[in-house]
């Protein structure tokens, strides 16, 4: 496991502090090691660090209360959703109180005529889609994991649908947030667009809980398309697969999803999900629209694929087959980890301008040829974002160091192509040096200045995004 940066032993909780928490949270305050350990990390390659206490909040007012207590006592405070982040984003590196929001899981309002809804931060995306289904609406952002909406907002998550529907940056209309000084604010109205002052909504999206705690989220929704079809197509070359997608985007084809899996990843997926796809570079597509529009999209993209060395489309518009296909895609991470017993997965997360994607993946694959562990690749090819999953033995420091070196070269490669060190996982603990490299000290200093102004005591998820 990776060591924790910016960590130091937490100060002991001041006298009376726990009693204050107990008054507010009663038996929803947990001091036992089991619950603290559950909140000591997330699905990441980082070591665990335990919070001093965990509280399960049920209302924004309770979040205000714990923020005020922590503020008065100068105790760190960490918001926690489903614990599916992968860069150590919720690891309490200096102890403090973890505020678990998973019990704030009510869908507060669905407004079908306005194509929006308001949910508490602890609602998970799959549950939300179940609640929306009979209104003919859906929430498109799909990072794979069944994350909470609040956590997805805090990490600026995206996933497989982003090529058409955008990321959390575009999906969120408004937030309810408890600020570091304990004020309960709403960042925007429910209007689709607004030019009303600074975009504090977007500032809080991706702030990883360092500028406040999101307690409610108003989301933009979409109508469930008349027709949804999926297709799978394998390619002789990676460049052929990527070119197919770039040409389709150039033609303005509104691809709903398009995912790339390399030969190594396809092998893992076949084994894990008991499928029989060719073990070649493969694109998974999804098309949304009217029956005719989807047919036309499939025909056009099918032609492009053939011209670029792709196989015939294996396609389906049956819900059950689609579900099986996308389940296989969603389980790609677990399939990768399943390639080696007792191992963990360390997912990288670069994103480059899409014209450079084939080159970036190809160079990366060449670099991975020498790797001593499996390192499958999968990516959101329409966005230029892809992940290598290092499948490593957590108890083998040599593999750890090798993964670090491979990741460093990968990020260098992406930055040299004017890409980013993180497309959707966030900075957390893992990308702090790369953030500096990517944007420079002056730009990061603007972030630090904002952090210091809004959280002068540095209590909100301290040690994340940048060192103090």
């Amino acid at each position: 496991m990776s060591a924790l940066p910016n960590a130091y032993a937490p100060a002991p909780l001041p006298a009376g502090f726990v009693e204050g928490l107990r008054e507010v949270f009663g038996d929803r305050l947990h001091l036992g090691e089991a619950v603290r350990r559950q909140h000591g990390g997330s699905e990441s390659h980082f070591e665990v660090a335990l919070p001093d206490a965990v509280v399960f909040a049920k209302t924004t007012e309770e979040v205000v209360a714990v923020v005020k207590l922590c503020n008065a006592a100068e105790v760190p405070i960490i918001a926690f959703g489903a614990g599916t982040s992968v860069e150590g984003n919720t690891t309490p590196v200096r102890g403090g109180v973890t505020v678990d929001l998973s019990e704030m899981n009510r869908v507060l309002a669905i407004n079908p005529d306005d194509f929006d809804c308001t949910v508490e931060a602890g609602v998970r995306r799959e549950e939300l889609n179940v609640a929306l289904r009979d209104k003919g609406l859906f929430f498109p952002i799909d990072p794979g994991a069944n994350a909470t909406i609040g956590g997805m907002a805090s990490t600026r998550a995206s996933g497989t649908n982003a090529v058409r529907y955008g990321t959390m940056r575009e999906a969120v209309l408004s937030l309810r947030v408890v600020t570091p000084d304990g004020r309960d604010i709403r960042t925007a109205s429910r209007a689709r667009k607004s030019a009303a002052g600074y975009d504090i909504t977007r500032l809080l999206i991706g702030a990883e809980g360092t500028l406040g705690i999101i307690t409610e989220v108003t989301l933009r929704l979409h109508g469930i398309p008349e027709q949804i079809s999926s297709a799978v197509c394998s390619f002789d070359t990676l460049a052929g697969a990527v070119d197919t997608v770039v040409l389709a985007i150039q033609l303005g084809i509104p691809l709903a999803r398009v995912e790339i899996l390399d030969d190594v990843q396809m092998k893992a997926v076949n084994a894990w999900s008991k499928l029989d796809y060719p073990e070649l570079t493969t694109l998974f597509f999804e098309f949304h629209g009217s029956e005719h529009a989807v047919k036309e999209q499939i025909a056009t993209v099918g032609d492009l694929a053939r011209q670029n060395g792709g196989s015939a489309f294996r396609w389906s518009n049956l819900a059950e087959e689609r579900a099986r296909l996308w389940k296989a895609r969603h389980q790609a991470f677990y399939a990768a980890v399943g390639m080696r017993k007792g191992c963990i997965g360390w997912p990288t997360d670069v994103c480059v301008p899409i014209g450079r994607l084939a080159e970036c993946i190809n160079e990366t694959k060449r670099d991975l040829d020498s790797a001593s562990f499996p390192a499958p690749i999968l990516g959101h090819v329409g966005d230029g974002n892809f992940h290598v999953i290092f499948v490593i033995d957590p108890n083998n420091p040599a593999e750890q160091r090798e993964a670090e070196r491979l990741n460093a070269r990968l990020v260098e490669r992406a930055l040299s192509m004017d890409g980013t060190c993180t497309g959707e996982h966030g900075i957390g603990l893992g990308k702090q040096d790369w953030l500096l490299r990517e944007l420079g000290d002056d730009a990061v200093d603007m972030m630090r200045t904002i952090k210091h102004a809004l959280d002068p005591k540095n209590l909100f998820n301290p040690g994340k995004i940048f060192a103090d």
Copy 2:
């Protein structure tokens, strides 16, 4: 004309300051009244206020130089693009130096494979589209006026294409910005999406020059659609027109533009552009896509329109006819002002959740029945954003007060529907009290805290967005 809030007589420029400017800008420093007057306001209903000096910057380095001079001498600094903003956003209410960026008008890079480009802040959107055309690309954001890209970013502009292509919030990938302390930063890479730290790109978009000066913008582009068709349809009732659009969105029809013009506005447009449309509530549509897809969209929307009391579509896919139609739409503001000799137009700018739009426009029209001056309505119906244009005599204080009262009731109405006081024009001088009403003092205080942290001397476009 409206009086200037937050204004006070500027302090005299300190000794040696002008000489410092002259050293950097030579004959691109202007102290004469004519040039200062040209920079004393914009297309707004506010009084003019003159800057002490105007400089025309040619490089980011020159912007850094003037920022450092202003910072050392504590002189206000105001960025200026094309002067097309409508809320007094660039009016130098306390004098200072206006930095005109219109000569920073180079297209620095077009990356067709990445669907992006980088331009200097002074490039205007029409010129950009000319430069892009032979690459098969276009930049969709279209606020009507031929604004500069930097100004559009600073105001978080949008316009007629936003329903499909989003606003400047979505269109900007990265900014080059000179910060209030004179640092030259880049806010993001060229990746389509990123989770790398705070979203300072979005913080600066819509900050109206109060947090720094944007000198370069990297924009996301789109392929020119295979087919572009326009259609015009008039309706017996306003609700019928709005319902047609809401149903089309619900069906997932990717409308590229859909604009509403009321009977009063249609009358003005017919007179101004010598057209013969029925003088009824009218929708102007544009459809983008493949030939088949566009045909299907037109057929479906045509059916919806008929079911909602619409006329047969008057449609065209000829470039010339389309241009004539959209020129008429773009000139709607001037057409409105042209209804009364010697008058000015004061455009309002509310935006409401789209399910409330028909109700909001209908109530507004009833309220306008008693108006003593023409007040046509036009709007971006797919976003819930519409404008009333008060056509008033600038020398008649009674009309001024009447417009203020009508606007106040309109904004109250929009806020009561969970809308915003400004969809795309910004806060500037005109909406400061409404911003407080809309988001509350605590949320605006977060903005003030950020402003104070980044611009502690309050030199960047002072008096805008909020009072000190």
